[in-house]
């Protein structure tokens, strides 16, 4: 309804691209909570997106579940998977956890390819279109607000403590396993909801869309924007999410440009576009007329 009205003002192609961007932002914020805030490396985020997408699609198509309830179910299923992945984080740290999640993600993709209910390699078509740009950006705002509040809470400080120094956090009485697993669960829940939005937006799902390439894409959004910075994640996703469309002038060379862009940003801003910047502080300085102090690269 609202989208219908918007279509008169905005080019439908832009609506298409921006809606997809919004879905990516939600998914990336999920990873932000896991990797950016809690410091748990995940190379398998697309799997949660996929679990959510297939769950939501199957719910609405085969079980007749209402759309919003299906989104919730998508989140819950992904969260359950997140808990499953979170437990090994007790034993595995750093790169090793990343590698294990990479393996998990690939296994999930192979399972999607082999299951009957997901349509296998043929993919799942005929999902009703329920997602529109208004719902997506409502979800974006809601997610940003929720994660912002979470980061500012006692719980969020404990997550940051686990990231900074797990052993010190344990000594201070923080049960690091609980925080790591719950961060995985919440982050996956968010990704699962994003998956549900994705399924009811594109109306077609294929396992190849949820492989490691997508996982790395989302990780790149988060790191390139500035690991641990919520505005950074949004900026990083926006820049990289729009890049393939913007770089269309590069014709067949556009993905080469995309690769170069990734390398250049990392070399000149290793901490990410907004990494290490306190935006509130920068804003105050601008208002007062001072020059923001950029930490040395």
């Amino acid at each position: 309804m609202l989208e219908e009205a918007l279509r008169h003002f905005i080019n439908p192609y832009y609506i298409q691209v921006l809606t997809l961007l919004g879905i990516y932002i939600v998914a990336a914020i999920g990873l932000h909570l896991i990797t950016g805030v809690t410091g748990q490396l995940s190379f398998g985020h697309a799997a949660f997106l996929g679990i959510g997408a297939y769950t939501a699609a199957i719910c609405t198509m085969q079980l007749g579940v209402p759309y919003l309830l299906a989104l919730l179910a998508a989140g819950v299923m992904a969260a359950l998977a997140g808990v499953l992945v979170g437990f090994p984080s007790l034993r595995l740290t750093g790169d090793y956890l990343g590698i294990a999640t990479l393996g998990f993600g690939e296994i999930v993709r192979v399972i999607f390819t082999n299951l009957e209910i997901t349509g296998g390699a043929r993919g799942l078509a005929g999902i009703p279109r329920k997602t529109d740009i208004v719902i997506v950006y409502l979800a974006v705002v809601l997610t940003i607000w929720a994660v912002y509040r979470l980061q500012k809470s006692r719980y969020g400080r404990a997550l940051a403590a686990v990231r900074e120094d797990e052993i010190a956090a344990e000594c201070m009485g923080v049960n690091s396993l609980w925080y790591k697993v719950s961060a995985f669960a919440i982050g996956s829940f968010i990704a699962g909801v994003a998956g549900g939005l994705y399924a009811h937006f594109l109306q077609y799902l294929n396992p190849v869309d949820f492989g490691f390439a997508r996982s790395f894409e989302i990780l790149t959004f988060v790191v390139l924007g500035g690991l641990g910075s919520l505005p950074g994640v949004i900026l990083g996703t926006t820049v990289l999410g729009l890049a393939p469309e913007i770089l269309r002038f590069g014709a067949v060379y556009r993905m080469m440009l995309y690769g170069v862009l990734m390398v250049l940003v990392m070399i000149f801003r290793p901490q990410g576009l907004l990494g290490g910047l306190n935006l509130a502080q920068v804003w105050r300085r601008i208002v007062r007329g001072g020059r923001p102090r950029v930490p040395a690269a």
Binding site: L92, Y96, I99, G103, E106, N114, Y253, M262, V263, M266
Partner: protein, 294 residues
């Protein structure tokens, strides 16, 4: 499954696994020294395969010249990648070089897709299709060449690492990067050397796989790279014998998985094994345990 068939599958598996091992060595050596998962390594392997193919198609080279050409071209390629995309990030946050590596990987894949097109190119028959029978077990000339070449290369690598000055420097840098640099080791040179060494092996691996499976294409490095990386982790990342063991272990497991009827889950076998090994022995089969520093 009869025991003849089983033995046959072991040979198939070991051949496949030794190609994984050649790629895995590059991952493991680089990780051992600068703790970087070099996601562009699979692309070096792919380019090696194309170089070997060009050598055979255009210059009518034989298999050994093709191998050598691939190794020679891959060395400067990998050294330049390190110079441009990783060295500026040596003191950067942990994830920055990984993202940079993914960027390089996307760049190289697209470059080769533009130059060569996405279709696999067949390898001209540089090796006669001869079959040998050892009792009931069949082994082809290609398989023999792969096994022998891979063994020779890995032996050579062991000699370089264990017996030469630069090999000693590599081991020292791997043990403790900062101390090694304080002891007068030129770590930049050591790192370049390590990248070059890994690339030479991957390039050779690319040519061997190209000949074995008779197909070379721009996206061949993606799955092969990822699986070789799994092999490195299964064997214990940072450990050279571990990478060899991991590669062969993975190759055999995969072939048996397929033979047992789990063919559609083939890719999952490698990754499932990976997770299993990580959970039971987080540092891999031959890796050294990490100390939790307080």
């Amino acid at each position: 499954m009869t025991w003849q068939m089983m033995l046959q599958q072991v040979i198939n598996g070991v051949t496949l696994g030794s190609t994984y091992a050649l790629i895995a060595l590059g991952y493991t050596m680089v990780y051992g020294i600068i703790q970087l998962i070099n996601f562009a390594h699979g692309e070096v392997y792919m380019i090696g395969a194309f170089v070997g193919l060009t050598a055979v198609l255009v210059f009518k080279a034989n298999i050994f010249v093709a191998l050598l050409a691939a190794m020679v071209v891959c060395i400067p390629l990998a050294v330049s990648i390190e110079r441009v995309a990783y060295r500026p990030l040596r003191r950067a946050p942990r994830l920055a070089p990984i993202i940079s590596a993914i960027g390089v990987s996307i760049f190289l894949q697209t470059l080769m897709l533009i130059i060569k097109g996405p279709q696999p190119v067949g390898f001209p028959p540089v090796v006669a299709n001869t079959l040998y029978y050892i009792g009931p077990v069949r082994i082809s000339l290609v398989q023999i060449i792969i096994l022998v070449t891979a063994s020779v290369l890995m032996l050579g690598l062991q000699l370089i690492v264990k017996r030469t000055r630069i090999g000693k420097a590599m081991r020292a840098t791997s043990e403790d990067y900062d101390t090694a640099s304080l002891m007068g080791i030129n770590v930049n040179r050591v790192i370049s050397f390590t990248f070059g060494l890994g690339a030479a092996l991957a390039g050779a691996g690319g040519v061997l796989v190209g000949i074995y499976f008779n197909s070379v294409f721009p996206l061949m490095g993606v799955m092969a790279g990822l699986k070789a990386f799994c092999a490195a982790v299964v064997g214990g990342i940072g450990s050279i014998p571990g990478a060899m063991l991991g590669g062969i272990f993975l190759g055999v497991a995969e072939v048996f998985g397929v033979a047992a009827g789990f063919d559609t889950y083939k890719d999952a076998i490698a990754f499932g094994l990976l997770i299993l090994v990580l959970l039971v022995r987080p540092t891999g089969l031959l890796g050294q345990p990490i100390q939790k520093k307080v």
